[in-house]
């Protein structure tokens, strides 16, 4: 299966008859992607080899793109390159057609929000105060929050469903409520593009669904472009217009979930024997068993 070449995004789009979601509002997105990486190689100072090597990876404007793949496949690393947290060793990550490294830090923060996987709230901070920090890139050095900021914070808290927790201490909330509070902070940034690194990790089922709903609403109502690293394929199918399946630091395949999620991909990328049910309006994955390493022709170490 290693000789399988992922078709170019544009080709995939044109011939795509059964898109899961309506594509009428973003027909031009692949020509003008919100985020794109060309010839990218990204690593960490401590690693010799780059963790991610991608010839071309695209997050279409106005869509939710889920980055999926097994542990160590480079999903988060790719996200961090787009967020200008890691400097690519080679290639360029573009935001709105411009190298993310060329943006002024504040300017980038007004266009692109990031929510890291692990967030440790400062002691004693309330949800409302935390969310107000999301306004930092919109304020001058001497500015106090003004009405715009207050309105944005109120909107963000309402969107994330934490308005009733405004005066609670973040440190004393449940894991799910904490995550929603951090999400509200990122929402208060009011960026056109938002990157979320495993936002549903370690949450109970209810809060997982809450986070996914917020992602969906953000895209449907506010037309925010989202890049979301997700572990759970079911979650990915639920929220994403696009999947990018990563394996060993490279995008293996991408496109609408209905096209990407195949039994072959599940075996190759995730190492599971599964059947995919394309009957409903969204594909359903039924994982059968984990494949032994011997069953997988292209198993390599996890970077």
């Amino acid at each position: 299966m290693s000789d399988r070449v992922a078709p170019d995004v544009d080709d995939r789009r044109d011939g795509d008859a059964d898109r899961v979601r309506d594509a009428s509002d973003d027909s031009a997105d692949s020509a003008d992607p919100a985020l794109s990486g060309i010839d990218l190689a990204v690593g960490y100072p401590s690693t010799e080899e780059p963790v991610v090597e991608a010839d071309r990876v695209v997050l279409p404007r106005g869509e939710v793109t889920a980055l999926v793949g097994p542990n160590g496949s480079g999903k988060s690393t790719l996200l961090r390159a787009f967020a200008d947290e890691l400097e690519p060793e080679r290639g360029v990550a573009y935001l709105d057609g411009r190298d993310v490294q060329d943006y002024d830090a504040g300017d980038l923060a007004r266009r692109l929000g990031v929510l890291a996987q692990e967030n440790d709230p400062p002691a004693g901070i309330t949800v409302e105060d935390l969310v107000f920090h999301g306004r930092y890139p919109h304020q001058g050095f001497f500015d106090r929050p003004d009405e715009t900021d207050v309105a944005a914070v109120e909107r963000a808290m309402a969107r994330a469903g934490v308005t009733h927790l405004a005066d609670s201490e973040v440190g004393e909330l449940s894991g799910g409520q904490k995550q929603l509070a951090w999400l509200a902070m990122a929402l208060a940034q009011e960026t056109d593009v938002l990157l979320l690194d495993e936002p549903t990790n370690h949450l109970d089922l209810r809060h997982q669904l809450r986070v996914l709903d917020v992602i969906r609403e953000l895209n449907d109502d506010d037309d925010v472009t989202l890049g979301v690293v997700l572990h759970d394929l079911e979650h990915a199918v639920r929220v994403a217009d696009n999947l990018v399946a990563m394996r060993d630091g490279a995008p293996y395949d991408w496109g609408p979930p209905a096209n990407v999620l195949t039994e072959a991909l599940l075996a190759d990328v995730f190492g599971v024997a599964a059947t995919v049910d394309h009957g409903g309006d969204a594909p359903r994955v039924h994982a059968r068993r984990a494949l032994d390493d011997g069953d997988r022709p292209n198993e390599t170490h996890e970077g």
């Binding site: 100072p45 401590s46 967020a83 947290e85 830090a105 504040g106 300017d107 980038l108 923060a109 007004r110 929000g113 990031v114 929510l115 890291a116 967030n119 440790d120 709230p121 400062p122 002691a123 004693g124 901070i125 309330t126 409302e128 105060d129 935390l130 107000f132 920090h133 999301g134 930092y136 890139p137 050095f141 001497f142 106090r144 929050p145 003004d146 009405e147 900021d149 207050v150 309105a151 109120e154 909107r155 808290m157 309402a158 969107r159 308005t163 405004a166 005066d167 201490e169 990122a186 940034q189």
Partner: protein, 407 residues
Amino acid sequence: MVNVASDPPTETATELHRGTDGDGDGLATDPRSRLDWMDRRLLGVCATSVVVVLASLLVQVSFGSYQMSLGQAWFSVFDADVWYHPATLASFLLGDGLTRTVFGLDAAWEPHELVTATNVVWNVRIPRVAVAAFVGANLAVSGVIFQALTRNELASPFVLGVSSGAGLAVLLSLVVFTVSTAFLPLFAALGGTLAFLLVYAISWEGGTSPVRLVLAGVVVSTVFQSLQTAVFLLAQDVGTVQTAIVWLTGSLTGKDWEQVRVVAPWTLAVVVPGSLLAAKQLNVLALGERTAASLGMRVERVRFGLSAIAIVAAAASIAVAGVVSFVGLVVPHLVRNVVGHDHRRLVVGSLFAGAALVVAADVGARLGVQFATGGSGQLPVGILTGLIGGPYFLYRMRVSDGVGGLR
């Protein structure tokens, strides 16, 4: 930990918004007005600190080795010779030279001749309280900033080696070569910066952790203290050695307007405005480096600027009073327990409480021996702050397991 009391006006305003459920149209007033973070607890800290400083001033002015009655002492405070001669009054703060320039006086001008009692009160007792207040405020703010920068409640200029670096620099200037007193804080800051950079470099390993910073701080402090001892051996004169020892313990004995003139400009021009402006950055930095960066903060640049303010603050106080221990560690803790973790409150509260602590401790240092034994000796104030601060910090460590990030 104590909860942060939120300010009633904000709460009502927030309730109002919640009624409109975020549609944002019904915002009549801005609830986050300029001073909404000035809550009652902070005002309480500031008011208490002012009372403590005034009470200490009262005691310091009234008693001392030069015997005078209370009435005499307070007559001296309001001595017409001082208050009716603005140039004389100004010369305390500006020095004779600058006063001549500002008031357009000729070179022959001298401050008004004062009677002995007035002279003692105005040139010995009052300036000493002023120096103490400046020293305390600086050390406390330095502690607040270092604790935020390292996300470590164990951090302070003392722990991070800044004090010993600045101390060595000042000691060198006492023993080996002369530096003009006005630039002593700058020289001390240089030593402090060097020590801090060393600490950071040693603890750096693709990032740094609270524990590694503290350990590196201990190492660097020890090395610099050895160097300080070595400098003692260079000193030929016993008097110099004695001065140096007193100075390394942190002492306010014999401090007068000259020290005020050294420490005040740095405090008022750099430390106070700098730390007040920095409070917002400290709050964002407390979210963690990655989050701060994702919010558009230039983390390295901000951290550099904040370190500079903290080092200048520590150095300015060390330059005039030596190494007064534990103030930078304990005051931020104390204030945090009352006003919470918001750095806007913490910085303001620490400026006041730091001044109050050192001023009060200096009452004990200056008069304690006299009252306890009837003798005439004075203790260095650093011994007092150590005696108060050490046990307090131990107590905090016992009651809260969050101290030092070693959860």
